[in-house]
């Protein structure tokens, strides 16, 4: 963004929103929105407490496990769908359905199937993240340059070589794009899982703070969550840009 020829640093619009938040908070318009300064103060108070650290750890572990599963299953399945007509026709309708389905409604079913523990939360996270990863990996393989595949074949590439030396790299920008959106959806999944299934982690904190009307506590946790999700997605976007630079079409 530039104003009068001055280049403003990235995300400087956030400052504007922060100021607005502070003003609304101080005006006492609603108890629901305390001033930002108060929220930040609360944040520094609670961030070192065992309750917070514990919640953070529970959330991060569940989140990472869920994302790992989504990536480890989603990428190969997507690549397979992109390469094989048969697999594609069998799976594509389901993937599309789950991608747009209101997954929150499925969470009670998961509870019945997998119990009220960590397992269900991890599966919820995976369920939120995996579909877009599958679809993007599939798209990445589908758009691959036909002549690259023929080139590899003409020089005698084995199917495994073709997979690791051509398909994977050619699809990498799309795959990373899918993982980035999957990660963002996974954040949603892990919080919904913690809220609905067993009240642990950040879900427990939200529950605790909002039911006790501790609004600045509530916002503080939310802020941490946003910051983490944002940092993760920026990191992946950065990776994505680096890769698509090399994979750039002619």
């Amino acid at each position: 963004m530039t104003i009068h020829g001055y280049r403003l640093p990235a995300m400087s619009s956030l400052v504007l929103w922060a100021v607005l938040w502070e003003i609304v908070g101080r005006s006492g318009l609603t108890f629901f929105i305390p001033p930002l300064s108060e929220v930040l103060q609360t944040l520094f108070q609670i961030i070192g407490t065992p309750a917070f650290q514990n919640a953070l750890q529970e959330t991060v572990v569940a989140f990472l496990a869920g994302i790992l599963a989504a990536v480890a299953i989603g990428i190969p399945v997507g690549i397979l769908m992109g390469k094989s007509r048969l697999v594609d026709e069998m799976l594509l309708p389901w993937v599309n359905m789950f991608l747009s389905a209101p997954l929150t409604a499925l969470v009670p079913v998961l509870m019945v199937l997998f119990g009220f523990g960590m397992k269900s939360i991890v599966i919820t996270t995976t369920l939120f993240a995996i579909w877009i990863i599958i679809l993007n990996s599939r798209a990445g393989v589908k758009q691959i340059d036909r002549s690259l595949v023929e080139m590899a074949r003409s020089f005698g590439a084995s199917p495994l070589d073709a997979f690791y030396k051509v398909y994977f790299w050619a699809a990498l920008p799309e795959i990373l794009g899918g993982v980035r959106i999957g990660v963002i959806r996974g954040v949603k999944g892990v919080i919904i899982g913690q809220l609905l299934i067993s009240v642990v982690g950040f879900g427990a904190l939200f529950e605790l703070y909002s039911s006790n009307f501790l609004m600045s506590h509530f916002w503080a946790v939310l802020l941490v969550l946003f910051a983490m999700a944002f940092a993760l997605s920026e990191l992946l976007a950065h990776l994505e840009r680096r890769v698509s630079y090399y994979a750039a079409k002619r």
Partner: protein, 256 residues
């Protein structure tokens, strides 16, 4: 004048190819003499690429067969290398790895294949660009990378699908001259697809003219006398000009 069988590197015998209802090739037969350059020339869509890919083993003919050195082709093999019209370079790999990629797929150790690749990179005039990526190169340079990759696997037969069509006219002329000396230097059989009559007459020992679908060889022309006159004399040679006119006369009715 028939060439003895041992002098034939590649034979296409009664090749037909259908794409669903589209009949691309019908009963096409053609011999490719060893150590020479044969051009496939014909109007767009007549099946030149199809024939080249069948010879490469990338496509299966509906009927008929291709023999390379007397052995029937069942798929791609180390005796043939392909130069692609759109270069087909790995965008995420630098020039050195791209040129060595054919050898990499054949399981040659890294130091050995890179040594070989470096030699061919010099040969095609790209020394100093080993670490560059394809998007940093011009179209002409990219095609040199594709050519070096095909040369470094040392196949006896080089298949080239309109290799010069994506480069500018000056580069193209330079490439044509280079190709002539390449054919003389390397004891390889070249099969060359082109749209350009002038290009075909300039670089070929033998020109096969294909007619539109379903395609057969309608005529084989062997430019003779001016071949050894030196690169810059050819374009002024009366025989060269006559052959160009003759081919145009037989092709023009398909262009209307």
């Amino acid at each position: 004048m028939r060439t003895p069988a041992s002098e034939i590197a590649v034979t296409a015998r009664r090749i037909s190819k259908n794409y669903g209802a589209v009949e691309a090739l019908r009963n096409l037969s053609l011999d490719f003499p060893r150590g020479q350059l044969t051009s496939l020339l014909g109007p767009s869509g007549c099946g030149k690429t199809t024939l080249l890919k069948i010879i490469a083993g990338l496509l299966e003919p509906t009927s008929g067969e291709v023999e390379v050195n007397g052995k029937a082709v069942t798929g791609p093999g180390p005796d043939r290398a392909f130069v692609f019209q759109d270069f087909a370079l790995l965008p995420w790999a630098n020039v050195l790895r791209n040129v060595a990629f054919g050898l990499e797929l054949r399981g040659i150790a890294r130091s050995e294949r890179e040594a070989i690749a470096e030699g061919y990179i010099r040969n095609v005039g790209l020394a100093g660009f080993e670490a560059s990526y394809p998007h940093e190169l011009s179209g002409g340079m990219r095609q040199r990378v594709g050519l070096a990759r095909a040369l470094s696997v040392d196949a006896q037969v080089l298949l080239m699908d309109e290799p010069f069509s994506a480069v500018d006219e000056q580069t193209r002329r330079k490439f044509q001259e280079d190709l002539l000396s390449l054919v003389q230097r390397e004891a390889k059989t070249f099969i060359f697809v082109t749209h350009s009559i002038e290009e075909a007459v300039y670089v070929s020992d033998q020109i096969a003219i294909l007619l539109p679908r379903p395609s057969r060889v309608s005529e084989i022309i062997r430019p003779g006398g001016f071949r050894n006159k030196g690169a810059d004399q050819i374009r002024r040679d009366p025989e060269y000009l006559d052959i160009v006119d003759e081919i145009w006369a037989s092709l023009r009715r398909y262009v209307e």
